[in-house]
């Protein structure tokens, strides 16, 4: 068995596929360098990310498949899950071994696994779109700090930009330590450090400490609304928890 070790990027993943076909190698396991542990029996090779090679693989994948398959492949990649990386790699190899579009053969284990993971990521994307709660800062910025299961910020950016076109906002992923910031013109990726001893490196970003004077009022009104719109006679805790699993309560001001 040969181990390909890549940098965890989408480009790197596609380069693994390129390498496999160029070297005509089979029985490949791919690994994210961040977590790779070499073994005594398998040979390993570091795969460097090369934009050009990746683009060739991606173009070929798109040519052989369709827009749904393309979207799913990218969504599943954002799971950052090592098993899914392997499924993606194996699915890509499977796609390139066929002239016709096999990306919807759900009888194939890798195709099915990728489709299922894409669904999980898509669900997390949707939950972020639903459960993010902005607070309004004194300077007018609407901000939210999130902690999603998967790396979904690249997927939700367009939704929030379209929806909140006339207000500046910031969504910050505290686990992955980056955020997306919209200044009412464009969305930018930002890295923040919340260290109080150092001055914020990006001076364009407003401070987050002080809230708008009416923030507490609307927070309270929303909590009131949540309570009074409930029908006590219909109480159904099981259904409630199914829709809003406890791990998402951290986002919901009405559940605090």
């Amino acid at each position: 068995m040969i181990h390909y070790v890549f940098d965890g990027s989408f480009t790197g993943l596609l380069c693994c596929v390129f390498e496999a076909f160029e070297m005509k190698e089979k029985n490949i396991r791919i690994f994210w360098d961040k977590t790779y542990q070499p073994t005594a029996f398998d040979q390993n090779r570091v795969i460097y990310s090369d934009q050009e090679k990746a683009q060739r693989v991606w173009n070929g994948f798109i040519k052989r498949t369709d827009s749904i398959a393309k979207k799913r492949f990218y969504f599943a990649y954002l799971s950052e899950n090592s098993q899914t990386f392997q499924h993606l790699f194996d699915m890509a190899v499977y796609v390139f071994q066929h002239k016709n579009n096999v990306a919807h053969n759900y009888g194939h284990p890798d195709v099915l696994a990728v489709a299922q993971m894409a669904k999980s990521v898509s669900r997390e994307k949707h939950r972020m779109e639903a459960f993010i709660r902005f607070k309004k800062a004194a300077d007018g910025l609407f901000y939210a700090i999130v902690n999603p299961d998967f790396n979904v910020l690249p997927l939700i950016q367009r939704h929030f930009k379209n929806r909140y076109a006339d207000q500046p906002w910031l969504i910050y992923d505290k686990a992955r330590k980056y955020g997306i910031y919209y200044d009412t013109e464009t969305v930018e990726i930002v890295n923040l450090t919340f260290n109080p001893m150092t001055k914020n490196s990006d001076s364009n970003l407003p401070t987050l400490q002080i809230n708008d004077e009416k923030e507490a009022l609307y927070d309270q009104l929303w909590k009131d609304y949540f309570k009074s719109t409930n029908i006590v006679e219909r109480k159904n805790t099981k259904l409630h928890l199914q829709h809003v699993p406890k791990r998402y309560w951290q986002y919901l001001n009405e559940k605090q």
């Binding site: 096999v102 919807h104 053969n105 759900y106 009888g107 194939h108 099915l112 949707h126 779109e129 639903a130 459960f131 993010i132 709660r133 902005f134 607070k135 309004k136 609407f142 939210a144 939704h159 379209n162 929806r163 909140y164 076109a165 006339d166 207000q167 009416k214 009022l217 609307y218 309270q220 009104l221 929303w222 009131d224 609304y225 949540f226 309570k227 009074s228 719109t229 409930n230 029908i231 006590v232 006679e233 219909r234 109480k235 159904n236 805790t237 099981k238 259904l239 409630h240 199914q242 829709h243 809003v244 919901l252 009405e254 559940k255």
Partner: protein, 420 residues
């Protein structure tokens, strides 16, 4: 701005009074944020769920709970002794915008008690929608109730700002409605729905010729029936639903299990359980009619006027029609696969796509996400052994029920039989 306490009290009163309207859909519109304003509509988002498990997508409030009518099933009826309140136009606008900007909601659901008269009430509701759309460039979702008896001009204007409009049938039959609300009739509801539906057709036809034709109720109309307040059968309810779906191109019919709100000998007593199981079965049937190609008479008819409470309506239909089965998933039409209990729309589509690449075996099907333990009695895969004799429907029913973990079966059997 008025005091915190007063606005809090108003919101509590007027959201509490609006909560029995179960519609909370925010999908089906196509209003896009093209003017760099606030908001964008799409496939709809539930931003939270109440403890009763219902989706919260819209700020659902009454403009006022003052009402000149005295409908027995309604908490805001004039003879009910409760606190009354009314929002101003600006208060509703500010609440909507501020909730929306914080990503609490998809938009506004505005209904109202009828004060003075229908037109006076409708006019104020239209004013709110208009202000949101024009002054605040708000492109979020707006659901407006049509007030029965409001003028055609006002309803027309409302349709230019709303994404969805609705009028509730309230009771499944006109007789039922007359019994509890003598001042109301299905005729009046039909007129209101008809006015908007005719305009919708008109706008749609104009749009084909003139692209810049403004939007008019892009998410269509809906209605609601209260279930279990009056003695109608499921057949009565579903035939009414079917007739209104077809006659007025409704997008949705909602079924709202009656929750006793007053001591009234015409209706279930205070403290009786709301008919949640029955409501659930009605929704399941509604889905079968809209997405699974079932005709209403296949599911309920004179021989079977009420839905089976033990099993869902699709399984119930299958058990009553053993001649349709087993269905070979490797060769049957998509429409036939959809009729297999335990296989939904998504799985049926996956099966049809996957079988192009080769025959489907049991182990593959089990991974596709179908309810295999239910479906297995009704279908054949590539490796299904040829059985000598199909099992009897009664045996299948018993097998499925013993494996099933439905929350309803664990409930008090008393409730199961109450509404049958």
């Amino acid at each position: 701005m008025m005091s915190w306490d007063r606005i809090r009290e108003k919101l509590q009163i007027l959201s509490d009074a609006a909560k029995y309207d179960v519609s909370c859909s925010s999908s089906g519109s196509n209003r896009k944020n093209t003017n760099k304003g606030l908001g964008d509509t799409g496939s709809g988002i539930c931003h939270t769920y109440t403890e009763d498990g219902r989706c919260v997508s819209l700020l659902k409030i009454l403009l006022t709970n003052v009402c000149i009518y005295d409908c027995a099933y309604c908490v805001s009826r004039r003879s009910n002794d409760l606190k009354r309140a009314a929002f101003t136009v600006d208060e509703v606008v500010e609440l909507t915008l501020n909730f929306y900007r914080r990503n609490y909601i998809e938009g506004l659901f505005l209904s109202s008690g009828i004060f003075k008269n229908a037109d006076y009430t409708m006019e104020r509701m239209v004013k709110i929608a208009k202000k949101l759309r024009t002054e605040h460039r708000f492109n979020g979702y707006i659901h407006l109730k049509s007030i029965p008896g409001a003028s055609q001009e006002l309803l027309h204007e409302a349709g230019l700002y709303a994404d969805r409009m609705s009028i509730n049938l309230e009771m499944p039959t006109d007789e039922g409605l007359k019994l509890l609300a003598p001042e109301k009739s299905h005729q009046e509801v039909a007129e209101g729905l008809g006015t908007i539906n005719n305009k919708l057709t008109e706008y749609r036809n104009t749009k084909k010729i003139i692209k810049s034709t403004p939007k008019f109720v892009p998410a269509g109309q809906s209605t609601q029936m209260v279930i279990g307040a009056t003695p109608e059968t499921d057949k009565d309810i579903l035939y009414t639903a079917d007739a209104y779906y077809k006659g007025f191109n409704l997008k949705r019919v909602y079924y709202s299990g009656y929750i006793p709100i007053s001591e009234d000998t015409r209706m279930p007593a205070l403290g009786s359980q709301p008919p949640l199981l029955r409501e659930n079965r009605l929704y399941q049937t509604d889905w079968l009619m809209r997405f699974y190609g079932f005709e209403v008479h296949e599911i309920v008819n004179d021989k079977h006027p009420n839905l089976d409470t033990q099993v869902d309506p699709k399984l119930s239909w299958a058990l009553r029609n053993p001649d349709f089965f087993p269905i070979d998933i490797n060769s049957a039409d998509y429409k036939m696969i959809l009729r297999i209990p335990g296989i939904g729309v998504k799985s049926a589509k996956k099966i049809v796509q996957a079988r192009k690449f080769g025959k489907i075996y049991t182990y593959q099907l089990q991974k596709l996400g179908i309810a295999y333990n239910r479906a297995k009695y009704f279908m054949i895969c590539a490796d299904t052994p040829h059985s000598m004799k199909e099992p009897e429907p009664e045996i299948i029913r018993r097998n499925i029920l013993t494996q099933s973990s439905s929350k309803f079966l664990k409930q008090d059997p008393q409730q199961l039989t109450l509404f049958v």
